[in-house]
């Protein structure tokens, strides 16, 4: 069978130091996978490799069976993979609504059009409205994105990521820096917007991880040491060792 996303012996070196040392992962369609691991394990780097932000040193990444390891970010996005960022990455001078409109433009086929009138595009409006509703920012529609609260910006970050209708979603620490209640709301949001989609997320908050993930991948020093169901991961000796055995500082 073809996997939604497949990593085959992915390696990445910066200079002499090898950050990702042969990561393997197979994600089935519709599956939700959380990647956990100590600080500096290479989780964000892995996301940057998958989304095309950095080129691979060796190995291969397949999206729906096709290699994407030589493609640029926008080409990967056009093939149906979309990502969010750990540090909020939005169009800060545009309004919330405009942020979402930009995010749906390519997938609806308007591309670089300068012959369509943006306000006349009903499908763009409807898609942007629907996402606005989903992420609960309807009342903030005209607010400039840079002036939103932190939690609102995180919600918009997720909104931009899913707006284009990609099937494979990568979320990089979506609840980082949130309070308990904010992060509960974020989990609900993520659950809602990724229905029927393949989800890969980096997360530190264990309650979020165990609440959302079908499987958990554990990345330690650039290697995927285990990828299994939450119950099995809890019982996994290697994982316990990595987290508790003093090799790396544990993280909440």
């Amino acid at each position: 069978m073809t996997f939604a996303l497949e990593l085959n012996d992915v390696r990445k070196s910066f200079g002499k130091s090898e950050i990702i040392r042969g990561a393997n992962l197979q994600v089935k369609e519709g599956e939700r996978i959380a990647i956990i691991g100590p600080n500096g394990a290479g989780k964000s780097t892995l996301f940057n490799l998958v989304s095309g932000r950095f080129p691979l040193t060796s190995g291969d990444i397949l999206l729906k069976g096709e290699s994407i390891s030589a493609l640029r970010p926008f080409e990967i996005n056009r093939r149906g993979l979309s990502r969010s960022f750990q540090i909020t990455n939005i169009f800060h001078r545009l309004s919330v609504y405009e942020n979402l409109r930009c995010a749906v433009l390519w997938s609806l086929g308007y591309k670089y059009s300068f012959w369509h009138r943006l306000n006349g595009l009903k499908d763009v409006q409807e898609h942007a409205e629907a996402v606005l509703e989903q992420i609960g920012l309807k009342r903030r529609r005209q607010t400039v994105a840079g002036l939103l609260t932190y939690a609102e910006q995180r919600a918009l970050e997720i909104g931009i990521t899913i707006a284009g209708g990609a099937n494979v979603i990568l979320l990089d620490e979506p609840t980082a820096g949130m309070s308990r209640s904010e992060s509960d709301a974020a989990v609900e949001l993520i659950r809602k917007v990724t229905v029927g989609k393949t989800l890969l997320m980096v997360e530190h908050d264990m309650s979020v991880v165990f609440g959302l993930a079908d499987r958990i991948g554990v990345l330690v020093y650039g290697e995927m040491i285990a990828c299994d169901t939450p119950v099995n991961i809890r019982a996994n000796k290697k994982v316990q060792e990595a987290y508790l055995g003093g090799h790396a500082p544990a993280e909440a």
Partner: protein, 424 residues
């Protein structure tokens, strides 16, 4: 407000703009005013096209005159060919020739410049304009060498009595193209590409992750911008009947950056204000004083430091205060502060003018006419008066400034609060 089927306010604004263009020469009837209005309108197109790059696309270009200037050269050659009978083109359509030429060079140079953004982009544009300027002196056949290329805009049979001989007819031709170009460039801001130009300006990285090749967004924006720059070049060729190396120079490129920024890059109409100010400063002020470039420079620095949004943002911020009915509380403090600044300004201007007279015009005697008085620039009286004015104004400004700032920030905090409550 975005979902109204017909935006009445917008129709009203464009209607008023058209009306203003039509009646402007009837209001300003003094000697050279039609010529000034023509220059302003040409510069408005140039500034608006420049702002497609700087304001909307976040591309700081030091070489925009390459497009308007090359457009002007092609346009003037087209006019000369038309008068020789080699080419059948109406003068009315010459700006379009300029536009297409500008666009062609946009396609050519833009491919190189827009590969990068930010500082690298700025540097490459600087290189390109220097290159074009060097070429203009290397190929006198096309560029006319030092003297430039001249033409006569009165070509062929009059069309409905229009010969484009009188300046007023040229003005209306320019006004017509200004209106069309302004509508076109405004329409651009309302298209998917126009919006993505904003997105790429704000965050090029994220734009790549929602499916857009940022290089293409910049490139297409630049090509369209070069088209409108070329139109302004074509109009300049008709207006002045001469195009020279100066048209493709760094100086011209720097000027449009200056005026666009002074007008305000954050609002669509900002560059139009910038064009009016620009023509006033370069054409009118230069006939009164030799120090006009100094005033222009100081004015630019003041805008950059204290009103980075330009004159347009100053207007819009005050309009917002008026709209929310709070202007009464700001106004008393505002005018006192402005009056104080004005007093200081008079002192500074007196000093600069006297200094210029002493250093450059000493041969014509020590007397200099200032504000209707004959002042002896070698005697201490004039200097003393200027110094007192400056000191008094500066002291007054310093004393009244904080009261104004307090009132201003209070009012704006209240307004933002009201907006937030209206949203919630």
């Amino acid at each position: 407000m975005k979902f109204e089927p017909i935006n009445l306010g917008r129709w009203l604004v464009w209607g008023l703009f058209a009306l203003l263009l039509i009646v402007a020469p009837l209001i300003f009837t003094q000697g050279a005013s039609v010529s000034l209005l023509s220059q302003m309108a040409t510069l408005m197109i140039f500034g608006l096209s420049y702002n497609m790059l700087l304001g909307q696309g976040g591309m700081l270009s030091f070489g925009h005159a390459a497009y308007s200037g090359l457009g002007a050269f092609v346009a003037i050659h087209a006019m000369n060919m038309a008068s020789n009978g080699q080419l059948a083109v109406q003068v009315t359509l010459i700006p379009l020739v300029g536009g297409i030429a500008g666009m062609f060079f946009g396609v050519l140079f833009g491919y190189v410049t827009t590969k990068k953004s930010g500082t690298t982009f700025a540097m490459i544009t600087l290189g390109i304009v220097e290159l074009v300027f060097a070429c203009s002196l290397m190929f006198p056949g096309f560029f006319g060498g030092e003297g430039g290329v001249t033409t006569n805009r009165v070509i062929g049979e009059p069309f409905l009595g229009i010969t484009y001989g009188p300046q007023i007819q040229v003005y209306y031709l320019i006004a017509f193209w200004l209106f069309i170009s302004a509508v076109g460039m405004f329409a651009f801001t309302q298209t998917p590409l126009g919006r993505m130009a904003n997105a790429v300006r704000d965050n090029p990285e994220r734009a790549e992750f929602i499916g857009f090749n940022t290089q293409w967004v910049r490139y297409l924006t630049l090509v369209l911008s070069a088209f409108f720059a070329g139109i302004s070049g074509g109009l300049a060729a008709i207006n002045f009947e001469i195009v020279s190396a100066e048209n493709v120079s760094m100086v011209r490129s720097g000027a449009v950056l200056l005026f666009t920024f002074i007008g305000g890059i954050g609002f669509f109409f900002g560059p139009m204000i910038g064009a009016v100010v620009g023509v006033f400063l370069t054409v009118m002020l230069s006939s009164y004083t030799k120090a006009w470039q100094l005033y222009l420079g100081v004015f630019f620095i003041l805008i950059v430091m204290f009103a980075p949004g330009g004159i347009a943002s100053l207007i819009m911020l005050n309009l917002r205060v008026i709209k929310f009915g709070r202007f009464g509380r700001v106004w008393p403090k505002l005018w006192v502060t402005c009056a104080m600044a004005l007093v200081a300004l008079v002192g500074v201007v007196m000093m600069i003018e006297m200094l210029y007279h002493v250093t450059l015009n000493a041969a014509s005697g020590p007397m200099k006419e200032l504000l209707g008085f004959a002042v002896d620039t070698t005697a201490p009286t004039g200097w003393l008066i200027a110094l007192v004015l400056l000191a008094a104004g500066a002291f007054g400004f310093w004393r009244t400034k904080s009261a104004f700032q307090k009132a201003w920030s209070e009012v704006n905090v209240e307004i933002e609060d009201m907006i937030r409550r209206a949203e919630a």
